[in-house]
Symmetry: C2
Subunit: 324 residues, 2 copies
Amino acid sequence: MALSYTVLGAGAMGLRFGVLLQELTGVKVDFVDNWQPQVDTIKEQGGVYVSRDHENRHLVPVNIYAPEEYHGDPDVLIVFAKQMTLQDLLERSSHFFAPDHQYVFSGMNGMGHIEKINQYFPKENVIGGTCLIGTVLNKAGDVDFIGKAGAGSINLAPQSGRVDDPRVQEIVADFEKANIHCNLTDNFYGTLLTKVVFNSVINTICTLFEIQMGQFIKSPAAEKLGKQLINEAYDVVERAGIQLLSTREEEWETIHYVSAVSNPLHYPSMYQDMSKNRPTEVDYINGYLYDLGQKYGYQADTHNFLRNLVHLAESTRQQRGHGE
Amino acid sequence: MALSYTVLGAGAMGLRFGVLLQELTGVKVDFVDNWQPQVDTIKEQGGVYVSRDHENRHLVPVNIYAPEEYHGDPDVLIVFAKQMTLQDLLERSSHFFAPDHQYVFSGMNGMGHIEKINQYFPKENVIGGTCLIGTVLNKAGDVDFIGKAGAGSINLAPQSGRVDDPRVQEIVADFEKANIHCNLTDNFYGTLLTKVVFNSVINTICTLFEIQMGQFIKSPAAEKLGKQLINEAYDVVERAGIQLLSTREEEWETIHYVSAVSNPLHYPSMYQDMSKNRPTEVDYINGYLYDLGQKYGYQADTHNFLRNLVHLAESTRQQRGHGE
């Protein structure tokens, strides 16, 4: 029998996963969000406006609910909140959680969400992921899928490490039908942290300067900055006994390639928060690496400094009155 | 007999010192500069336009020369170049240097200038200084003295440590007559480096974000950023055996007071370079502290990271096409 899905956090990425599953896999998908303007707008419109690379904007009917309104019992929850609002979203949704049979997949940026999800769901039911997919929410009820259909991919890592779990394999099969290409791995923390390290460099620095990835990589200072952050992050992660997916040198090569070749015109997702005068997720990226280092007596001072520079930029941006 | 002065580097601060000495002390002052538009403009105008706090703009006749044109033999050289152009200025001026009897005073920001000056002058003839005086060059031949007459002060430190040197005392007397208030000290490196540490925080960060000092200090992140940089700088300077003029805590209090109370609307001098698309002096401030630490096996990584962030900002600013 087909699985049913509920997307928790119907922002850019949540809408992308849910709409593709609904359209291409034919499964039942509901959406739940704690951002009331999103819920209200989509209800009023009778769906969400979807574009692909700024073109072919069309209305896709979707079922959306505020957490308190929802009483479904999906087989799988797909969680794509911002780290700062996740706790609120989980608390307000907990009445429909059924940890005895529901699985949870989350592909959120940063770290910290797994601990929060584990307050409600055992690790056997949790799948972490990292997404190499760009999606932009233009405004409430209006989303833009960046990149050609089928381009981009995700890593999935069951928290149990059990890649042979039949339910995990069903979910992967549904994602593949939805044109979301999956790489399944048993290295849970290594997979998630590899993306954290990537984001701690490119996402954070591009946000700090409000620049595109191509503008970053063109500077002669980029390699020095990137390698200093990578080295410090790897020093932390090695002390925590976590095996990342690439070496330090490979990690820099990836950042270089993605910035110079794949996505030079891309503004990372954290930039979207900064440019809309919202707080960024930097505490869950560079801040997470700093905190993890602290546990092992290691001072990841550069990550901490960069995190505080982003907070300074948030503050000065507000003082200048750049609001939405 | 009255001393004669030649200002080497007739930018904002060089013009301020020279014009005040000429007007208030009545001594002979010549100006030499390696920035040809400055020399040409002042010659054409028959002098330099001087304002005070944006008001009372008037022409002050001054003698200005390109280095090769000049053949005077002053008693004292006042050096106020940018760190990046100092070597060129010294080389092109060396034909009129007379290290057997000429003294040199320099109040430049950053570090590195003393080593270059010592290639031509023995330490017995060199006086370092730090200036708590804001001055802006609006354009070639047009300078604005910020702050009321007699406000602000300078620290002077003979490189020999000999504050009782009669020539040093003559110079101090001339500066005092020129309404430039002097604090004479025998702690040469401590005096210079105390200003470097100050600038490594406030000057560099305000330049990075192109913000006023008051905007910096209002952010809750300011104290964390400032103290991290101060601690690292003090770790370096202590290893080098140099005694700064204040404790770590006092240094932060000074930065806080100057930013919040004395000069909240001030854009530090390095900002003036960034905003005019010129390279900044960050390598001679944060970069100097990093290099000094390296000599003693200490990694001042935060200063190095911040230095490279400024270079990234220089580079992205150019890519965006913010020129003069």
